[in-house]
């Protein structure tokens, strides 16, 4: 990888200011898009870059933009999903902290491409401390003419509103996010209709992750093939891999999509400290089914992880060292989903709570194989039976934990 190219994450901490961003060539891509490109060409370029959604679902962003009806009579909206709540994930936070203008420039390009005049940034409740910086970056951009009614002297205008969440994991689900922005209880909607046609305030809406949008200026500045060349033909670009847990150098690493998981852990993050070994790895946030040490050569891209029976998700890697009781891992996992289930769909509302209660019971009072079988059956009762992906997100990692560590769990709960 060439070092002097524009990167998603600049190295120095003063980089969040507009001045620093401009020094690095910031807003040149937006200028190019707004003054030298047709909106359709912008969308086509992003389509060609095959940038897959960085929030977790991995849907190609350009295609998503293409779903917005061209002849819509209602206003169109852009919602930025900055509700980074997936356990093990902390990459968007870094973008908001270090490079908010990369996000704003990406939003500007997306809005221009799709024909949007109003955008919302839905900011995770726990990131309240970042709101001020984000607001200041928006004010800087407005004052310099990069946001507001006439961006860069063109006819195009964009307003950006920061909407803080209130601390619910479910609001990272795109339709629950829309409900929350509208001032209602954050719960998923029935799809179809999809947000592209009936979204925020019943209007066509694009919802993109922070990292996805922050990568857009690079695509416009250097072209789709440049971006594609940095990743895989089916999954372009670089991604921010957050590595936490038992590694020497935990942190966020910007690496090519398709980098093997083992390389990220062993080479970049330095592997487990002090002679420890790896017992298991969560490859893409807690909802991604756990991988065993022998499965770590998988390439970190959306399709490869899916083939391996897990998912790339938010690319938040959690390394679990030897000696960790997997019953504890199962318990915290089950507790998280029981705690965060929004309660709308029956299987998820009651199933996640039932699973947690069962895990809790066998952990404190012991149990047998039949309890583990029950947990698997309950997970199957949730999976595929809910409005939103939370059901899968809860059922699959719990299933994987119980299946892959069955012997250990049986011994741990045996009396």
């Amino acid at each position: 990888m060439v070092e002097n190219e524009v990167r998603l994450l600049p190295d120095d901490d003063g980089s969040w200011r507009l001045e620093a961003y401009l020094r690095q060539g910031g807003y040149q891509a937006a200028r190019k898009a707004l003054t030298a490109m047709a909106p359709e060409a912008v969308v086509a370029e992003v389509c060609g870059a095959v940038i897959r959604g960085r929030g977790g679902a991995g849907f190609p962003a350009g295609r998503k933009w293409g779903f917005i009806p061209k002849d819509a009579t209602r206003p169109k909206y852009l919602c930025v999903n900055a509700d980074e709540g997936e356990p093990g994930t902390f990459k968007d936070r870094l973008i908001l902290l270090r490079s908010p203008h990369a996000l704003l420039e990406g939003m500007l390009i997306a809005a221009f491409g799709v024909g949007i005049r109003t955008a919302f940034i839905y900011l995770r409740g726990e990131y309240a401390g970042l709101a001020a910086r984000l607001e200041e970056a928006i004010a800087e951009a407005r004052a310099a003419g990069y946001l507001g009614p006439r961006v860069l002297g063109t006819e195009f205008g964009l307003d950006v509103v920061v909407h803080p969440g209130a601390g619910a994991y479910i609001c990272g689900e795109e339709t629950a996010l829309l409900e929350s922005v509208e001032g209602r209880r954050g719960q998923p909607r029935v799809k179809p209709p999809f947000p592209a046609t009936v979204g925020l305030f019943r209007s066509p809406t694009v919802i993109n992750n922070v990292e996805t949008l922050a990568a857009v200026p690079g695509i416009i500045a250097h072209g789709a093939s440049w971006f594609l060349g940095r990743g895989l033909p089916t999954d372009g670009g670089t991604r921010l891999f957050g590595v936490s847990g038992a590694v020497r150098r935990p942190g966020v690493y910007e690496l090519a999509v398709g980098t093997p998981l083992r390389t990220i852990i062993e080479v970049h993050a330095g592997g487990p400290p002090g002679g420890r070994s790896i017992k298991a790895v969560v490859p893409g946030g807690l909802s991604a089914p756990i991988l065993l040490p022998e499965e770590l050569d998988v390439a970190m891209d959306v399709d490869s992880l899916a083939k391996a029976g897990s998912m790339l998700g938010s690319a938040g890697i959690v390394v679990i060292p030897d000696g960790t009781p997997m019953l504890d891992v199962l318990q915290v996992t089950a507790r998280f989903y029981a705690h965060e289930s929004c309660g709308k769909c029956t299987p998820c509302r009651i199933g996640t709570s039932w699973i947690f209660k069962t895990v809790d019971r066998i952990r404190s009072a012991g149990g047998g194989p039949e309890d583990l079988d029950l947990i698997l059956r309950l997970a199957d009762g949730i999976r595929g039976r809910t409005l939103c992906p939370f059901g899968e997100g809860a059922a699959l990692p719990i299933r994987a934990l119980v299946t892959k560590f069955r012997d250990e769990l049986e011994q741990a709960v045996a009396r």
Partner: protein
């Protein structure tokens, strides 16, 4: 509207474009179980009970939110679908108190019905259930049992989408989610009773019905609500012959019945409280001067009326016999009244005394508080109250209904009536007029009649007797027909209206 052809469980069916799979199946006689879906509310898709298989789609799909498409192949009874339903039911019942023996809903509860269809299975829930409030008063004498609630949110959506009053919300999250009112703002609207109707389980119960009887004792008969000009479709639910400790209550509740042309799915609380109109304050037997007349027979009492009519000589009748009718009478009764009093007897003083109009509420309740105002016009009447002077020369007054005192202040009507030598009252309910009448005849209320009403939009609705009148209580139509017969007159065809 365009018809769409699809296959459900191997049968070719048709449905209008835009219909959802659940309704299309229902129309084809295939019942898909559901809790949260209600045709009068926006789709919620949360109970997950209505999942079906749709060819070409990998996952089970919601039949409530999936709209029919040409050539769609739907399967509602495969093992995969049945398993999904069993699972949803198992989840719901795992957190359900199973207090059916003391639950009003028992016998008409979806949890019971579906368990009957998809059970039995061995209970696998070994954990402690969530404990919740079991009798939260939420306003309008409604009681919420949060342990029984399945969180279908029909109640919440009804208050947001239909009454637009929004008193209920869902609070907390996950398994702790609960329906509730906002601080100090209980359910307070004139359609609150529908919450009990639409609750698929026993979570919302009505103070008026709680612990009064069991659903399986109720006889359910359709009727038309007589409390305003709309004529909503209702079901009158009564018990006949079951020995009750205090045997006075026959009608235990009135519930809404679907009629998309008139009232959709709802009725107002005024109509629902109409059960009191059927059971309370009734005249139960013939009375003389306001006192029960146990020795008097109907034949003898009506012969006295006929004799009083005959006593007024022909030429004087038009001015000296006055009749007061009401717009609760059916079209058939009004046609008979027209035939006897106007056509045959040639009376000119035929008046109407009705409940006073109120305000229309913009939803269902009309300003008129009578069901057959249009029927009175159709029968050829121009309904109006008597002017004060019009009763002075009257020698015989026949009053159908006891609304005159409501329409006139007591002090003006009492001397006017007292001055009339002969007065007969045909009334369903006791009132101040009883004392002023020589004889009071007990008559049936609309739920005890068969007939037709024409609603304020001109829709003619025929209905049949929904409850038996108490012994010795008859509809006004029978009385008019009997009078005509006694007088040797032909009142004409009751269906002429």
């Amino acid at each position: 509207m365009k018809r769409i052809g699809l296959t459900i469980d191997g049968s070719k069916v048709e449905a209008f474009e835009g219909t959802n799979v659940l309704r299309a199946a229902e129309q084809a006689g295939i019942a898909i179980p559901h809790f949260c879906y209600h045709p009068g509310l926006e789709v919620e898709g949360s109970c997950r009970m209505c999942l079906v298989e749709i060819e070409g789609l990998p996952k089970l799909e919601l039949s409530c939110s999936t709209v029919v498409r040409e050539g769609m192949v739907v399967r509602t009874a495969t093992e995969r679908v049945r398993q999904a339903r069993r699972d949803v039911l198992e989840f719901l019942l795992a957190e359900h108190p199973l207090d059916c023996p003391i639950c009003d809903k028992a016998g008409e509860c979806r949890l019971q019905d579906y368990y009957d269809r998809y059970g039995p299975y061995a209970a696998r829930m070994l954990e402690a259930r969530e404990r919740r409030e079991k009798k939260a008063p939420i306003g309008r004498s409604l009681i919420l049992d949060r342990e029984r609630c399945v969180l279908c949110t029909r109640c919440v959506r009804f208050l947001r989408q239909v009454t637009k009053t929004g008193e209920l919300g869902v609070f907390e999250r996950g398994v702790r989610s609960e329906v509730g009112i906002f601080d100090g703002a209980p359910v307070d609207n004139a359609y609150s009773g529908n919450l009990v109707d639409i609750c698929p389980v026993g979570a919302i119960t009505a103070g008026d019905f709680r612990f009064k009887t069991r659903a399986w004792f109720l006889e359910r008969k359709p009727s038309v609500c007589p409390h305003c000009g709309r004529g909503c479709a209702i079901t009158v639910e009564s018990i006949k012959g079951y020995p009750m400790a205090n045997g006075t209550r026959r009608v235990f509740r009135i519930t809404a019945r679907e009629n998309t042309a008139v009232n959709g799915f709802w009725i107002c609380d005024l109509g629902r409280d109409g059960r009191h109109d059927i059971d309370d304050g009734r005249v139960t037997g013939l009375m003389k001067k306001g006192l029960p007349a146990p020795g008097l027979s109907w034949t003898k009492a009506l012969a006295e009326v006929a004799a009083a009519v005959r006593a007024v000589p022909g030429p004087g009748r038009a001015a000296e016999i006055a009749v007061v009718l009401n717009s609760r009478m059916t079209c058939e009764e009004l046609a008979l009244a027209k035939g006897l009093f106007v056509a045959s007897l040639g009376l000119s003083k035929v008046f109407f005394a009705d409940r006073k109009p109120g305000d229309a509420d913009g939803l269902l309740l009309t300003a008129d508080r009578v069901p057959n105002g249009r029927g009175a016009l159709a029968a050829g009447f121009a309904p109006r109250l008597p002017a004060p002077g019009e009763l002075t020369s009257v020698r015989l007054l026949l009053m159908f209904g006891s609304q005159l005192t409501e329409d006139f202040a007591g002090e003006t009507i009492v001397p006017a009536l007292a001055a009339i030598p002969s007065r007969f009252l045909f009334a369903a309910h006791s009132g101040p007029l009883d004392r002023l009448a020589d004889t009071v005849f007990p008559v049936a209320v609309p739920a005890e009649k068969s007939g037709a009403y024409i609603n304020f939009e001109g829709i003619r609705q025929a209905f049949c007797r929904a409850v038996e009148p108490p012994p010795g209580v008859v509809p006004e139509g029978d009385i008019i027909a009997f009078l005509a017969h006694s007088l040797g007159l032909n009142p004409g065809d009751p269906d002429a209206c």
